[in-house]
Structures are given as C-alpha cells and as structure tokens.
C-alpha cells in the first residue's frame, strides 16, 4: 500500500513539473516576445520596456520559470496586466462559481448514471436496456454547449423557469444554485451518458463471475446479488471514469461558462486570451491542469481503498 502510494505520489510530482514546463514553454518560449504580443503593434518602446521589466523578461528564461513556479508554490500567481490585481485574487473570486458548478454537474451526472446503468445491466438485452443504450449514444454525441443552448431555448425563453445566464452571487444561495442549474445539467448530460455505459458494462462483467452464481445459488435474489456483491466490484472502472470526467467537466465548464455568462475560471481564461493577458492565461491554465492531475492522483488513492488487492501490494 505504502509503496503504491509512494509511486503514485512520485508520478503526481513528475506530472506537475512536466505540465508546468510545457505550459511555460507554450506561452513564453516560442516564438516572439510576450511583451509585444500583449501590447500589440502600437506599443511604444518605453511601455514595452516597462512591461518587459514588470514581467521579468530581461532575466533568463530559466530564471523566469523558476520565479513563476516558486511564486505559485507560495500562492503568488503574478499580477494581472489588465486588471492590475493579483491573479490569485481573481482566481479565488471565480473559484466560487466554477468549483460549485463542477461539483453540481458531477453530482447530477453520478445520480443519473448509477440507477440508469444498473437498470440497463439488470435488464440486459431487454427493451429497457436497448432504449437506455440508444439514449446514451445520443447523449454522448450531443456537444454540451449546444445542449446548453437548447436548454436556454426551452427553459429560459419558452417556459421562462430559469434565467438565460448570469450569476447572482452567493448572497442568496437558492438563487445561486438556480442560476447554476441549467449549466450543470448541460455539463452533466454527456458525462452521465458515458458513466451509465461504463456502469452497465462493468456490472455485466461482474454479474458473469462465479461468486455471483454462488450468491444466487445460496438463495439471494437477483436484486440482492446485484446490490450486495456486484455493485461494489463494478465500482473500480466507474471510479476511474468519474476521475477522468472531472477533467472533462473542467474543460467543459470553460465553454459552458461562456454560454451562460457565468463569471468563472473559464471566462477568466477567455478574457485573458482576448485581452492578451498572458499572466492570467498562464497561471489559470496551470491551476486547472494541477486540479486535473490532483484528481487523477486522488482516484488512484481511492482505488487502493476500494480494492484490497492493490492495498496489499
């Protein structure tokens, strides 16, 4: 168990180092000068020089990388060039939108996918199974931002149950949750479709195992066999996918936040991109990648807890 955790932790650290190098290289090393990219064609030499000093561009690239990583490790993400505030502050503000949105969507997707997947597996080959599998095929094929637009069309424009976008803040938690509902549903649908399919096939595989036959032979009903024995063992592949989905949810949230005009991390990145604020783009991207890699690590740890075979190693 300890050895397993140690290798996972080592690979976590290594991934983070490589990720930071790649992001830094993509943004700052090749090609051209970040300062002139940020200021555009009309910048005077003085403003360029001032920005170069501010960004530390005069130092070597290696020094700059170390300063960037060192800063992030101590919570200093640099100062946004357009907002003139520390990026950490901007991120903290936006986190209160993006994180609840991702968790909301993940919860919805899991709540939908588990019963649907179990139902399909329990009725394998039946009408219900075929209908569910057809529905999930459709769910996977739907781009979430388009689904979001359809939701707006139906629930905001036609039925007027929800507002079409915007975020009222957490002063009124109910209102906040309401304004996150359509975005969360839009994010959750494709994820739930994938998860339901994984749940189904994992469950079908475990249902074919000998110990399920034994459980049935000793008198458990089909339902009891599924709930007591099969479900727990089918959870391993399902956990992997939930972990992977967090990555998709974060990326999806970037786009969905733009559909619903939510002031989250995704919008922050896009504002950074359109305003050519590389400090914001660089640090927020690193943060997102960090979150994804961390979740992958946590899923690996969760495996060890769920699967005693891994624990012994």
């Amino acid at each position: 168990m300890l050895r397993y955790l140690a290798t996972r932790a080592l690979s976590l650290g290594l991934s983070l180092v490589v990720a930071s190098v790649v992001i830094f290289a993509l943004i700052e090393v090749i090609p051209g000068d970040p300062a002139s990219y940020m200021l555009g064609l009309n910048a005077t030499d003085e403003t360029l020089a001032a920005l170069r000093t501010e960004l530390g561009l005069d130092g070597s690239k290696f020094d700059r990388y170390l300063a960037w990583v060192g800063g992030m490790l101590t919570g200093d993400f640099g100062v946004s060039y357009t907002y003139r505030v520390p990026v950490a502050e901007l991120v903290l503000d936006r986190l209160w939108v993006s994180l609840p949105l991702a968790i909301y969507a993940l919860t919805l997707s899991t709540l939908i996918a588990f019963p649907v997947g179990i139902l399909a597996a329990a009725n394998r080959g039946g009408v219900l199974d075929v209908a569910i599998m057809g529905g999930t095929q459709l769910g996977i094929a739907v781009p979430n931002f388009w689904f979001a637009m359809l939701l707006v069309l139906l629930f905001a424009v036609t039925l007027q149950w929800f507002s079409a976008g915007g975020f009222a803040g957490w002063d009124d938690p109910l209102l906040a949750i309401k304004s996150l509902t359509l975005p969360a549903v839009a994010l959750a649908l494709p994820q739930a479709s994938i998860l339901a399919r994984v749940m189904r096939s994992a469950l079908i595989e475990t249902l074919e195992q000998d110990y399920i036959r034994t459980a049935r032979a000793k008198g458990l009903s089909r339902r009891q066999a599924v709930l007591r024995h099969a479900l727990k063992n089918a959870l391993i592949p399902v956990l992997t996918i939930i972990g992977l989905q967090f990555s998709f949810l974060l990326a999806g949230a970037i786009i969905i936040e733009n559909v619903f005009f939510l002031p989250g991390l995704g919008r922050l990145i896009f504002q950074g991109i359109t305003q050519r604020d590389l400090v914001v783009v660089e640090s927020v991207t690193m943060l997102l990648v960090f979150a994804v890699i961390l979740v992958t690590f946590l899923v690996d740890v969760a495996y060890a807890l769920v699967d005693p075979r891994l624990r012994r190693r």
Binding site: A141, L153, F248, I255, L278, V281
Partner: protein, 274 residues
Amino acid sequence: MRRLPPALLIGAALSAAFLAIAALSLVWTPHSVTGVSISERLQPPSAQYVLGTDQLGRDLASMLMVGAQTSIAVALIAVGIGIALGVPLGLAAAATRGSLLDEIIMRGNDLIFAFPSLVIAILITARYGPSATNAILAIGIFNIPVFARVARGGALPLWTLDYILAARTAGKGRVRISVEHILPNILNLLIVQATIQFSLGILAEAALSYVGLGAQPPVPSWGRMLAEAQTMIYSHPMLAILPGLAIVLMVLGLNLMGDGLRDALDPRLRRRRA
C-alpha cells in the same frame, strides 16, 4: 455471410452521407457561402433557399455543407497525426517491452493523458493564433498517446505467439516483424479507435470553433455557426438548432460505426455471440 450488426449499418450510412455531402461541397453548393447579401438575410425556408438564410443572407444549407467539409478535414487530419506518430511509438514500445524506450514512451503517454486536452488546445490556439491548422495540431497531439496505447496493447500479446518466434528464428529484425506481422494483426483495433477519435475530433473542432479558436471567417464551421446563432436564438432558433443537429448526427454515426466495427471485428465477441 454473417449478418452485420444494425448499429454498424446505421452508423456507416450516416457517416457516408456526411462524407458525401462534404465531398460534394468541394465542387458544388446551392449558393455561395462567401456571398453576403443583406437584403436576403434571415429568410425562411423557400424553394430558392431550402433551409433559409442566416443573418448575413448566406444560404444555410450551403453553409452546413461546407461546415461538414471543415469538421471532417480537421478531425481526419488530427486522426492522421495520431496514427502517424502514435502507432510507430506503440509498436516500438511493444517490440522493446520492459526496456528504457518502452518506459519512456509509456510514461510520456501517461503525462499527455493527464492533461485536460481542451484546455491545452485552447491555450495553443490562443497563443499561436486561432486557425484551422492550429486546431488540427491541438487536437492531433492528444490523439498520439491514444494510438500509441492501443498499438502497444494490441501488439504485446502477439509478440508471445509462435509465428513471431518463427519469424525471429528466420532472422527477421524487430522493425520488420512489427511492420510485416504485428501491424496487419492490430489493424482492426486501430480502425475502431480511429473511428472513435474521429468522432471526438468532430466534437473538439466544434467546441474550438464555437469559442472562436477554430477555422476563421469566411470559412464556415458548425461550431462558429452556433456561436453566431446564439444571439438570435430568441427570434430565429432554427439557426442554432440545425448546425447542432448536424454535429450530433455526424458524431452519432461515427460512434455507432465504431461500436459496430468493434463487435464485427472482435473475434472474441463473435464467438461468444455465435
């Protein structure tokens, strides 16, 4: 002859239809997609404009046809990049199983896998300028580890078989064995994976061009058509519904085809069914 699975037939028919539409759009569209005529803007469907016109008076049907071409071109080339680089890497890793080379290739793969692909794609296209080429590169990079993994996974069990041993005894080198004996036998796996990555590529291209980081105007793309229609969703919902429908049908077709191919090509599944 065995009966083909219905999913495969439906999927292949849908995919073929979109390919045909895209190919046709290379030589003919009902109207020009670059010709802007404000007097003809937002027309309802008519004999002249089968699906009506958009906010700039362009024929929606023609836009959708050329949009198919953009989507397919981007996704197809991105899959090509994945195969061209990923498959040799996977084969090399399998041929040198357990060696340093194998270790480096597979750990490199894990690293790329750990990255949220869309975030990095956004980063690349944002920093190097939005264009179809950069979208292709951004999507293609993340196809490399997928194909490397599939190729390695398919090749490993083959290396333990007798006929490979015979080939080695006959003096064939690892490269030659990989190309002559391993590759033809993992082709099934690669075709199925290519179909899946193709459909993911269509979705990724749509997402990138929706946020303005894909093909640039005046080249029509489904994603940007959706973005432009979003402000008019109240008054002209069809402009937002049709491009989305095109994406869904194309992706659905490819996914059904991929699933069907996997069932049809996997001898294990075939035996179980029989």
